[in-house]
Symmetry: C2
Subunit: 266 residues, 2 copies
């Protein structure tokens, strides 16, 4: 058996800020028995032969990590500092313990500032205490290398804030683009992702939303990008997974919690 | 059937700051198949004929609320502002929506200040947006009434901070005392709880800990309080639930996630 190097991607969460089912909701989607309709908050995990990368730390990070038996994280990338993407930050303590040291985190200067405002105790390299979370902050201002991948940040608008999307590439091959929260697709970001193998993009719901792309907007963005395969994420309880997928054009699907994607690396 | 008024208490979470199982841990407790060895972060929910009260908003609040089918919260009490007790705060948004307005929250001035520092957007009564969390802050400086209960705060030391324990009473009957995080038991707090029907108290593990009571310390505190029944909470992966309970003296047990307690009200 040849040991082909792979990038393995696990969808840790695929839901909007309130998750699916929503607390106290009795709609058919929230009462669905399809496991794909159980959505924790949006986050992905990437594994290459060189490193394990986590994107965002949702409030349910512990639940997601246990479900997927994660036992190593080498770096964390943050899209933005909204509650549904960061409130599991303190649970990184376990990954610091397992690693035996501080965890490198990557995000825009604004995102890192937001994290430090809340979790300041994790950012003090002179006060490291075993059992607590400690990070080294790497402000993202351009492409960087991690785990044998070239990661290109893309700034996209999301209401009052800008979020960071990430393009993961190897030797110029655009493997995966992840845009969890975006309202519109700037031309510059579309150009960076053009022809990407897999695009995972915010496609909140059918109705327009002031800070998210809706399904139609996400499909249009995917066409502009010429993504070979597109998956919507950050889903509400708008529609059941199966019904949503049935309505989508060829080459467009929806991610779900626990879904795996695989890319061959050179 | 007589409709006896009751105080129903649900243990939402019974675990320490990292929960049980811990991420990436393969010890026998973390691999236990006993559902009582699955511990989300410590929190309780109280239901009286007049109100539903939540104590703390752990990172897993959404998971706990779905598990217990919670669909109404009338007020939230906070013990302190450490990550494992507050990082689910933003998920209160659903309870605001279901209620149709801001949610009253109670805590020490320091705890409320800690919450406002992180979740400032929830504390602005002039900027209420549907779908977002909004609270009215009630600093706790002495006994207060909620849901037909008299709630007496008790300040106890927990490392560098003070936490607030809560005594729930009706017409002078001391029904339940909840002390999730305490290092030692001040005499004044012991006196307030004396003879309480049920005491739920921090009893982290066998070994001493710099900021928590260990099992022996919790047992001694319970004797001093003369609690009729005591349950340990905030458990680590030190011992399996069944093994821990086997070792405890009569009148002392361990709470677990989903456990229910009931008190008749007058």
């Amino acid at each position: 058996m040849s040991a082909t190097a792979k990038l393995q991607v696990t969808i840790l969460g695929s839901g909007t800020s309130q998750g699916v089912p929503m607390i106290g909701c009795t709609c058919p989607v929230c009462r669905s028995s399809d496991p794909r309709d159980k959505r924790t908050r949006s986050s992905i995990f990437l594994r290459t032969p060189e490193a394990n990368l986590l994107v965002d730390t949702t409030p349910e990070l512990r639940v997601q990590a246990l479900r997927e038996a994660l036992d190593r994280v080498d770096a964390v990338l943050f899209t933005h500092a909204h509650a549904d993407h960061i409130m599991g930050f303190d649970d990184l303590r376990r990954f610091c313990d397992l690693r035996g040291g501080a965890l490198p985190i990557y995000g825009s200067p604004e995102t890192l500032q937001g994290l430090e405002r809340i979790f300041g105790y994790a950012f003090n390299p002179r006060k490291t205490v075993p059992g607590y979370v400690h990070v080294t902050a790497h402000p993202v201002v351009g492409p960087f290398e991690l785990g044998g991948l070239t990661i290109t940040p893309m700034t996209v608008p999301h209401g009052a804030v800008q979020t960071t999307g990430f393009l993961f590439a190897q030797h110029g091959r655009r493997l995966l683009a992840y845009l969890s929260d975006c309202q519109t697709l700037p031309a510059e970001a579309a150009e960076l992702m053009r022809g990407v193998e897999v695009l995972i993009i915010d496609g909140l719901r059918d109705l327009p939303h002031p800070t998210h792309l809706n399904v139609q907007g996400a499909i249009e963005a995917a066409r502009l990008i010429e993504a070979k395969q597109t998956y919507l994420t950050h889903q509400t309880h708008d529609k059941k997974h199966a019904d949503r997928e049935r309505d989508l054009p060829p080459g467009v699907g929806v991610v779900y919690d626990g879904m795996q994607l695989e890319f061959e690396l050179k």
